[in-house]
């Protein structure tokens, strides 16, 4: 009869963690169990039933490269040996996912708690509400591992008791060889690193997106240029993503040079542009959507939006008005939304009405009730027979009287 396999996995994220003024990219999003902080399931204002808080002091956040390079999780059991866990490499990968909080849940503050401060070592325990230590750790790992490597086995991470690896000097380091994640620290910590055992990430050369746009339908994204020439880190674009996005076995076997991808359905235009916008906010639509311009948008701008692109507006690019990437149809149609402060500079005499002493202090809106200035007010719009003077302002200077 088998006894508990790997009882008492130790989450020995010991080691002092230096404080650094760096706020993590994401706060923990896991729905918290009240009992993480309260001893009662129904705390009230008057008796909050607070548990002894494990966060003794908040010392700030630290950079990924300060994370311990490797950790030994669990201990040698009857069937499997302990896992030497390439912690820092995983921390780097986690930057594109949920960050440190993906595993160190409820634990955004420092010092980082040992898992067993909350998760009981024994399965026969008081609080059945949270999994025991072995289960908690297995669940954390398997959340990602099953997703990107459903064919994985226990031996993906554990050495078999009595196997060559267990007897030999070389212990495999779980996850040590993920491309792009520096693992130099792994060997520096004294744990010998075995041959690569993990699926490496093969980044695509180019990704061709099929977008919903009428004109400039495809967008070619030069992935290799971005990671190579511009040396962008994965996490600069990939955030809060599932591991499989990059570690998909199916993608590994396919042709990774050009991938045609449909832009995910259900995204707003704005959401679809978010990643690119960080750098390309000032670029024209045509930078990515080849051939897209106000002339080729494929619809009647005047009809669809109520703002015809005539005369002065015809030669403009999309970007000159729609400054937020992908955010179309949101512009206030008033002149003021683009032409800030134009009124002060406007030579009103061009319209045939000189703003003389009587009129120069009148607010624009005093005569132009409609902010688009499309309807031209005539004298009679404001004045009655009794109140308007014999001559239209400006006629004294030699201009003819106009219709009233």
């Amino acid at each position: 009869m088998r006894t508990l396999l790997l009882i008492g996995l130790l989450c020995s994220i010991g080691g002092t963690v230096r404080a650094q003024a760096r706020v993590p990219a994401r706060a923990g999003t896991a729905a918290m169990d009240c009992r993480a902080c309260h001893t009662s399931a129904t705390p009230t204002k008057n008796s909050p039933a607070l548990a002894a808080c494990p966060r003794l002091k908040i010392t700030g956040y630290h950079a990924v490269d300060e994370a311990p390079p490797t950790l030994t999780l669990g201990r040698d059991g009857a069937t499997y040996g302990a896992v030497i866990f390439a912690h820092r490499a995983h921390a780097h990968m986690a930057e594109t996912g949920k960050g440190c909080n993906g595993c160190h849940h409820y634990d955004q503050a420092r010092p980082i708690q040992k898992c067993k401060n909350c998760h009981a070592v024994s399965r026969q325990r008081e609080d059945l509400g949270k999994p025991d230590l072995k289960a908690a750790m297995h669940r954390q790992c398997l959340d990602c591992h099953r997703e990107w490597n459903p064919a994985g086995s226990c031996a993906t991470c554990h050495v078999k008791a009595g196997s060559a690896a267990a007897k030999g000097a070389v212990a495999p380091v779980a996850g040590a060889s993920v491309a792009g994640a520096p693992v130099a620290g792994a060997s520096a910590a004294g744990a010998p690193v075995a041959a690569p055992r993990k699926a490496t990430v093969v980044a695509p050369q180019r990704v061709v997106y099929e977008t919903g746009a009428k004109e400039g339908k495809t967008v070619t994204f030069f992935h290799a240029d971005h990671t190579g020439r511009f040396a962008l880190a994965c996490a600069a674009c990939h955030q809060n993503e599932s591991c499989r996005g990059c570690h998909d076995r199916k993608l590994l076997s396919g042709d990774r040079t050009v991938l045609a991808r449909q832009t995910a359905k259900g995204l707003t235009d704005e959401q679809a542009h978010v990643r690119c916008a960080a750098c390309h906010a000032k670029d024209e639509c045509s930078t990515c959507h080849k051939g897209m311009s106000t002339k080729t948008i494929g619809f009647d701008h005047g009809r669809r939006t109520g703002f015809a692109l005539n005369r002065f507006h015809a030669p403009l690019t999309c970007k000159q008005c729609h400054t937020a990437p992908g955010a179309f149809g949101r512009i206030n149609a008033s002149c003021e939304s683009c032409h800030k402060g134009w009124q002060a500079k406007f030579a009103h005499a061009r319209t045939g009405l000189t703003l003389d002493e009587q009129h120069k202090d009148v607010e624009c809106a005093g005569c132009h009730e409609d902010k688009t200035f499309r309807d031209r007010p005539v004298c009679g719009s404001c004045h009655t027979d009794k109140t308007w003077p014999a001559q239209k302002p400006g006629t004294a200077a030699g201009r003819p009287a106009v219709k009233r």
Binding site: M1, R123, Q124, P131, A135, H138, E147
Partner: protein, 301 residues
């Protein structure tokens, strides 16, 4: 075992039959002695956590002295492709279903006796060989069983299996909730072996509360249904799932305890005003003699 054996049962029941004419049907009713302790134990199976490793299958077989390949062999996931039922060679099996939310991560469901609070198998058993105990388990007693297999027919979950291949002393085989291990203060073997604790062992009351909390905390993860909380009057093993229980082949059962077959036999008996106990005795005698003769033949050969 502690109480009667088959022979003494027969003697006593025959004696009763003689004096039975004055007995009222209710006292003669061989129904279950339902001792539903508020502290009865159970297991919460969270199918959203289960990874289908089948460690539980291995542990169960090992704990019950059933034949099994080494644990390594269970890394082969091909047996999951076929639907299986618990039988006399495996008291628990794990089945696999398509996951509508995540096609690459199939749903796996461990199946075994549910240890009903009002077990149909117990009602069905005419000699009281199956009993529900205060600690939640529904267990079978070799010495009393006459091999009628009513329990197999009665169980709404098709759990009890019969050792057809054994000529000598065939047994009814089903999950016994690791009765002996638990008596020694150990966890059920399957619960102990589960690497992700998809199986949580505890007081049934606590487990139902925990299950409700999990649903409340992660409404996207679970359907709002604890299978076994109310089905057939409640079961000691309860299930959580991320998709409809129908699609995981959980039988759609009413909230009333499933009637045992022997109960319907009794109704037939009452229709003809035959005192039930005498019929039990008759049935028992027939079963016993036929089996006894069979045993003797086997012994002779």
């Amino acid at each position: 075992m502690k109480s009667q054996n088959r022979r003494s049962f027969l003697k006593t029941s025959t004696a009763i039959t003689v004096a039975a004419t004055g007995l009222t049907p209710s006292t003669a009713h061989a129904g279950p002695t339902n001792i539903l302790s508020p502290d009865r134990m159970g297991v919460l199976v969270d199918t959203t956590v289960c990874i289908g490793c089948r460690n539980c299958e291995w542990a169960c077989k090992t704990a019950h002295g059933l034949e099994t390949p080494p644990l390594d062999a269970y890394e082969d996931r091909t047996p999951l492709a076929k639907m299986r039922r618990p039988d006399e060679t495996a008291l628990t099996v794990v089945n696999q279903y398509e996951n509508p939310k995540e096609p690459d991560l199939p749903i796996t469901v461990k199946v075994q006796c549910m240890h009903c609070d009002h077990p149909a198998c117990v009602s069905a058993c005419i000699v009281g060989a199956i009993a529900k105990h205060a600690n939640g388990e529904v267990v079978w007693d070799t010495d009393k069983c006459i091999g009628c297999r009513y329990c197999m027919v009665a169980c709404p979950f098709q759990v009890p299996a019969f050792e057809y291949h054994k000529a000598l002393g065939p047994r009814i085989m089903k999950c016994d909730f690791c009765s002996e291990r638990r008596a020694d203060g150990k966890l059920p073997a399957c619960v102990e072996s589960c690497p992700v604790e998809a199986l949580t062992y505890g007081r049934r009351e606590d487990l139902v509360r925990i299950a409700k909390e999990r649903i409340k905390r992660s409404p996207d993860r679970y359907v709002e249904h604890i299978y076994g909380e109310a089905e057939v009057g409640g079961t000691s093993w309860c299930y959580l799932a991320g998709t409809d229980f129908d699609s995981l082949q959980f039988p759609k059962l009413g909230l009333n305890p499933a009637p045992g077959v022997s109960e319907s036999i009794q109704h037939g008996i009452f229709a003809y005003f035959v005192p039930p106990v005498s019929l039990y005795a008759l049935l028992g005698a027939v079963m016993w003699t036929s089996r006894h003769r069979h045993d003797e033949e086997e012994e002779q050969s």
